[in-house]
Each structure stands twice: as C-alpha cells, then as structure tokens.
C-alpha cells in the first residue's frame, strides 16, 4: 500500500487573537495524483487547510497549532517554508497581489530564480511552461496591463515553473469572468494529466465539473462531508443549498449569455419592458474612448460619428425605475467603462441623465448616482461605521444614520472600525453609505465575487429591497446565481454598446 502523499493528522488550529478554532481535530489524507475539491462557506476552514499543506501555517501565520502534517514524507512543522517551494505550489485568490515582478517574463521565472537554478535551466522551464499553457501572446508585457484572467494564468505558470508535485489553489476563480474560468479549468486539467496532485478550495463549483476526483465539505473547522466527484455531481440543488453551497451545474441559458455568441443576439433589441419614458431614467449621448485625442484649443467631443474607436457608444438608453438590472458582458468589452461613465467619474464623457423632468450633466451626475466599487477597501475612509455612513450625508442626520445601520443589520458594529469587519460586513457598510447618500441610481460593481452562497443570497436580498424601496439598481456581475436571485432584466454590454435581454426563466428541472 503506497503512502499517501499528504497526511493531516488530528490538526487543530487557532489564529492568534481569534476566539475560536479555525480547524478542529481535522484528519485527512490525499493520495498522489488526486484532484481534490474543498468546499464550504466562508470561515469553514477551507483556506486554513490549504495553508497547512503549503506550510504557511504554522510558519507564516501565528497561532496555536496541534497535530501533525506530513507532505511528501516531510513533517511540515519542521521544514522551512522555502524548502517546500519545489514540492508544493500555491495559486492565490487575488491576481493583483500575488505577483512579485512588473513584467510577465520576470514573473514566470521568479520561482526558479529564487531556488538558484542555472540560467539555461530557468529558460528551459520558462519555455516549457509557456508552451504547455499557450502563453506566448502574453510574454514580454507589463503585468499591470493584463486582465484578471490573464494575470491568473501567469500566476499559474509561475507556480508551475517550479515543477511542484502538489498544486494548491485558494479560491482561484474569485475575480475571474466566464472565459477566464474556462481557461483555469483547462490549466487544472493539464496538471491533472501531468499526474500532479491538485487541491482546490472554492465557492464557485460549476467550472470544475467532471475533473474532480473527490470532494470534502468543511463546516466550522471540521470535515462534515465527503463524496467522490461523481456522487457530488449528482447532489440536487436543494441538497447543495442546505449546505450553503453554490450550484454545481451552470444553467445552460446562462452559459449562452456569458459566452457571447453574436449569431444569437439581436444587436438592436429594445428594452424588454416597454416602460414609459416619463417614469424611467433616460441616458443620452454617452460616448467615451480611453484613447486620448490631442487637442489644441478645445477638447474633442466624442460623438456617434467616432463609431468604431469608441469604448462606449450609447446614443440613448432607457432604464426602468425601481428595478434591479444586471449588467453583463465579458471583461474588457466596456462594462466598467459603462458604469464609470454613467456615474460621472469620467469627465470626458459628456452624457446626460434625464429623470423626473430634470437633466443631470457633468458633476451633477455624481450626486444622482452612486457606485459601490468592487474593492470595498477603497471606499472606507473613517474610523467607525457610524462616521462612515454620516460622511455620505450632506446634512448630518444621526437618527437617519442609525435607522439605515439597523436596516442592514450592522447597528451593533456602529463604533467598530470599518477595516476590522469581515468582507460581507464591509460590503454592507458600503451599501449603507450608498443609501445615506440618497442617490436614485445605485451601481454595484461585482458585489459577490469571492462570497459564499449564504452571503450572496443576502446581497441579492438587499439589492431587491433597495429596488423595492424606489432606487434603480444596476449590478455588474459574473455570477448567474445572483442574477437568478434578484435581477429583473439584463443589460448586455458588448463592444461598448448596450442592449437588453430578458432574464431567462430557470426551469425547475435542469436540462
């Protein structure tokens, strides 16, 4: 009988300063060559298990460690982190913060350089990895220019260049769009073919369908379920939801929507609902391009005539009020541009908002709409939740502030520093600030990336409540589950142009 490659025996772990164990007497073994999926809600211990295997626990994170972890015959507690580099590789969640270099080539060779390999060997490995993962178009470019998906591919290449036998992935799809997730799936399949042991910790389950050998479900620091890959795929949606897990199969209609087939979609589709214009918010003449045109006396005003050169070209768009509208489209086709121009952040975009007989142009657009950005950390400025919400109010109304906090369930935290809160709580503080600002049009940029199912449901509920109380909500998202939960209609952005599509009906029986 062969030794398991990874053995975790009776491990309990508590992070320093924490009041509860993150892992409670966990034992598991992983045979060589297995592709294992770890799932569970946030805080269940998935990431901690990953950290046990790559050694970050106990060498990088401080806390109480009991038990033993053996990887490829080595006792982790007694092995230096850096000695594991050739054995265990880890791909982290955030493409933006895991790269060390400024350019792609440097990043791929970073690992081999660290372990002191001779230059010819480093170059050979770089060539090998580039060919295996089809990265030649990405070579010799600045990492800052790449999309999230491209960055993640480079991160995978960088890890693979050290030729580890075990590769860990900690929520690698969190910031990726549909196409990027399919790329990621291909990479994992490649590694599987090469006989590597792959362990993935994930919320989004559908893109891994068919390549998982075994699934472990964690709850509150313990292993609470184990299935073979095949059995797990057979679980019904209700069973998954009971465990607070996202669906394992992406509904085919959503697959079409995100995959962007030009043949299927009529570009001149009008809004699915014929809302009266007086009741709606109308956007006019939103044209914008990132390419700056040189000007001598007067700045070039974008117009429809610029056509192909525009990143955003919307002559007129009607937004029905009081609805939650999903904004979908591949990364890079103008979704974020659309949101930024809409709320007035791009000065050079001179579009106009008409609502209730009033016209909002220029800076007034910022007051009319409010965007909750993807990285919530960039939007928190004060040292208490209460102050944060008051900051948004032009006339400071303490009572109103407390009402808003209570409505979102964060009143108990009103004196806590926003940065001390969890991701989901910070999200709610940002929403509270949005409500306090009194904007009619609320924009949300990827509010559920990286959230588990339970939190996604909460966000969906909040968006619905906001719409029901009169605001118009636009939410840019890659999560089909969120669209199903709360969106009335969909706005597709492709090549800078926008058109509506009705939200597909979800069949009770999946086909």
């Amino acid at each position: 009988m062969t030794e398991p490659l990874i053995e975790i025996a009776n491990v309990s772990w508590r992070y320093k300063g924490s009041t509860a164990d993150s892992l409670s007497d966990v034992s598991l073994t992983v045979p060589a060559g297995e592709t294992l999926l770890l799932c569970g809600s946030s805080g269940s211990g998935k990431t901690s298990v990953i950290r046990l295997i790559n050694g970050l626990i106990p060498h990088y994170y401080n806390g109480d460690f009991r038990g033993s972890v053996t990887v490829a015959g080595r006792n982790i507690a007694e092995t230096e982190l850096t000695d594991l580099a050739g054995t265990v590789g880890t791909v982290f969640q955030n493409p933006r913060s895991q790269f060390f270099s400024v350019d792609t080539d440097g990043e791929i060779v970073f690992g081999p350089e660290n372990v002191g390999l001779p230059p010819e060997e480093i170059r050979r490995r770089k060539k090998q990895v580039t060919e295996e993962m089809h990265l030649s178009e990405l070579l010799d470019r600045s990492l800052f220019e790449l999309s999230g998906g491209e960055k993640q591919r480079i991160a995978c290449a960088s890890v693979a260049a050290l030729l580890p036998e075990i590769i860990l992935l900690d929520e690698p799809s969190s910031n990726l769009d549909w196409m990027a997730m399919e790329n990621l799936r291909e990479i994992i399949q490649l590694w599987k073919q090469q006989g590597k042991t792959v362990i993935v910790s994930e919320h989004r389950l559908w893109y891994l369908a068919g390549i998982i050998d075994r699934v472990l479900y964690l709850k509150k620091g313990k292993i609470a379920g184990e299935w073979s890959g095949v059995d797990f795929a057979k679980l019904s949606e209700e069973e998954l939801q009971a465990m607070a897990l996202r669906p394992t199969v992406a509904d085919r209609k959503y697959a079409e929507l995100f995959r962007d087939d030009p043949a299927e979609n009529d570009e001149t589709a009008s809004p699915a609902e014929e809302a009266a214009e007086e009741d709606s918010i109308v956007l006019r003449e939103y044209y914008f391009s990132y390419k700056k045109k040189p000007y001598i006396f007067r700045k070039h005003r974008f117009s429809e005539a610029d056509g192909e050169n525009l990143n955003l070209c919307i002559p007129k768009l009607v937004l029905p009020r009081g609805r939650v509208i999903a904004v979908v489209g591949r990364n890079g086709t103008g979704k974020s541009t659309f949101l930024r121009c809409l709320c007035g952040l791009e000065k050079d975009c001179t579009g106009v908002i008409e609502a209730d007989g009033e016209t909002y142009r220029g800076r007034k657009r910022i007051g009319f709409s409010y965007m909750v950005m993807q990285d919530v950390n960039h939007q928190l400025f004060t040292d208490s939740v209460e102050a944060e919400v008051l900051l948004s109010m032009k006339e400071k109304d303490s009572k109103r502030c407390l009402r808003i906090l209570s409505r979102l369930g964060i009143l108990p935290y009103k004196d806590v520093h926003p940065m001390a809160l969890s991701g989901g709580q910070k999200q709610r503080v940002a929403i509270a600030s949005a409500i306090a600002a009194g904007a009619e049009l609320l924009l949300f940029d990827e509010p559920t990336s990286g959230l588990d199912y339970a939190h996604m449901v909460k966000v969906g509920k909040m968006l619905r409540e906001l719409a029901d109380s009169g605001s118009t909500v636009l939410v840019s998202t890659h999560d089909p589950e969120l669209i199903a939960l709360c969106c009335d209609t969909e706005l597709v952005i492709r090549h800078g142009r926008a058109f509506y599509r009705a939200v597909p009906e979800i069949d009770a029986n999946k086909n």
Partner: protein, 231 residues
C-alpha cells in the same frame, strides 16, 4: 544600442560627478554639454523620441538664456532670478536626463541581475524590486481611492487639509499593507528568501559598446578634472 545596466550606472555616476564641479572655461562647458548629449542620443537610438526632444529643447533653451543673461550683465532682480532658474536647470538636467535614460531603457530583471553581479546582498535587491513593483500599484490604488472620494464628495475633505491627507493616505496604507501580506505569502511559497543565492534568467555581459562607453565617460571625467584643477 543595448548597454549593460552596469555601464548605465557608471554613466550616471560620472555625469553626477561632472556637474558637481563648476565649469569655468569654454572647454569645460563643451565637455559638460558633450556628456549630456550622449544620453539624449542614446534615448533617440532606443526610440524614445518624445522625451529626447523635450530634454534637448529644455536644455538648449536654458543654456541659451544662461549665457545670454550672463553676458548682458543686466541689472535687476528679475534677471537674477531668471538666471538662478536657468542655472538650476542646467545643473540638474544632465544627471536627470542620464537617469531618465537608465530608468526607461532598463528592465527590472536586468537591473536585479546587475546588482547580483555587483555582489549587492540579496536583501537589498529584493527590497529594491519591491519598491519598483509598488510604484505602479500605488498609482492604481490611489486612482481608485480618488474615484471613491469623488463619488462620496470628500475630495476636499470638507475644507480641512488634515482630512484631505487622511482620506487619501489611510485607505492607501490599508491597501498596501494587505497587498504586501499577500505578496509576501505568494513570494515565500515560491522560494524567496531561501538559503540559496538567487540567480537570474537574464545573463549580462559587458560587450564592446559597453567598454567603449565606459572609456569615453572615464576620459571625459579625467579631462574635466585635469583641465579644471591642474591646468
């Protein structure tokens, strides 16, 4: 013409030294100006036309004004101030141009490799690489924070200078610290900081153009010193 980063550093060194010594005769001025022209020409050779042109114009105008004003012996505060301004430009620009050339045409990988060859300890090399990596990051984070401030109407901090700085600085610091933690974990799990000395994928070699440049600049420096202090 691709030069070894070590050659480029040597050029910065020599140019910095030459501008420290004031040029008193025409010949010395010629040496100074000649040395300044070399990076400009190199910038052109590496296709950085716009910056080369701008530097050329700036330097040329400042020089012309400097000599023009000096020879006129005009009275008055205004001309003295203008003279002062031009002096500073003429003084700082040579080293700045050379520095710009070095920064623009050297990849970080080459730079790190050069530092390893010069036996600079790995720790300093790592820190320097991180500094270079963080400049664009800080710019991105700050842009995002500014957008959020515009959104919430707090760009001017409500008229309070301290708040203005606080609103910009605090989210930026939180962001950088978070990124730093993740970056460290990702780097260490890829072997950074091990007992082995780091190697580099780029192999550097001093070739004929490098030695030529080194010789030329050394000659310029020697000539300058000799003409100034000895003759």
């Amino acid at each position: 013409m691709r030069l070894d980063p070590r050659t480029k550093l040597f050029m910065v060194f020599v140019v910095s030294a030459i501008v420290m010594m004031s040029a008193t005769t025409t010949f010395l001025w010629v040496v100074r100006i000649g040395v300044t022209m070399v990076p400009i020409v190199l910038l052109i050779s590496e296709k950085h036309y716009a910056s080369a042109f701008r530097f050329l114009v700036l330097y040329g105008v400042a020089l012309a004004l400097l000599f023009g004003l000096l020879s006129e012996k005009s009275e008055g505060l205004l001309s003295a101030l203008l003279l002062g301004y031009c002096s500073i430009v003429v003084q700082f620009l040579p080293a700045m141009i050379t520095a710009w050339y070095v920064v623009r045409t050297t990849k970080i990988g080459e730079f790190v490799s050069a530092m390893q060859r010069m036996h600079i300890p790995d720790g300093i090399t790592i820190s320097l690489a991180v500094v270079m990596r963080f400049f664009p990051t800080i710019r991105e984070e700050y842009a995002s924070i500014r957008d959020a401030m515009k959104m919430r109407g707090v760009m001017l901090g409500g008229g309070n200078a301290a708040k203005m700085i606080e609103f910009r600085m605090i989210p930026l610091l939180f962001s950088c610290v978070n990124i730093g933690d993740e970056l460290s974990a990702a780097a260490i799990t890829r072997g950074l900081g091990g007992k082995v000395k780091r190697t580099s994928a780029t192999e550097l070699a001093m070739r004929a153009p490098d030695w030529l440049m080194v010789a030329a600049f050394t000659a310029a420096a020697v000539v300058f010193v000799v003409c100034k202090y000895v003759l």
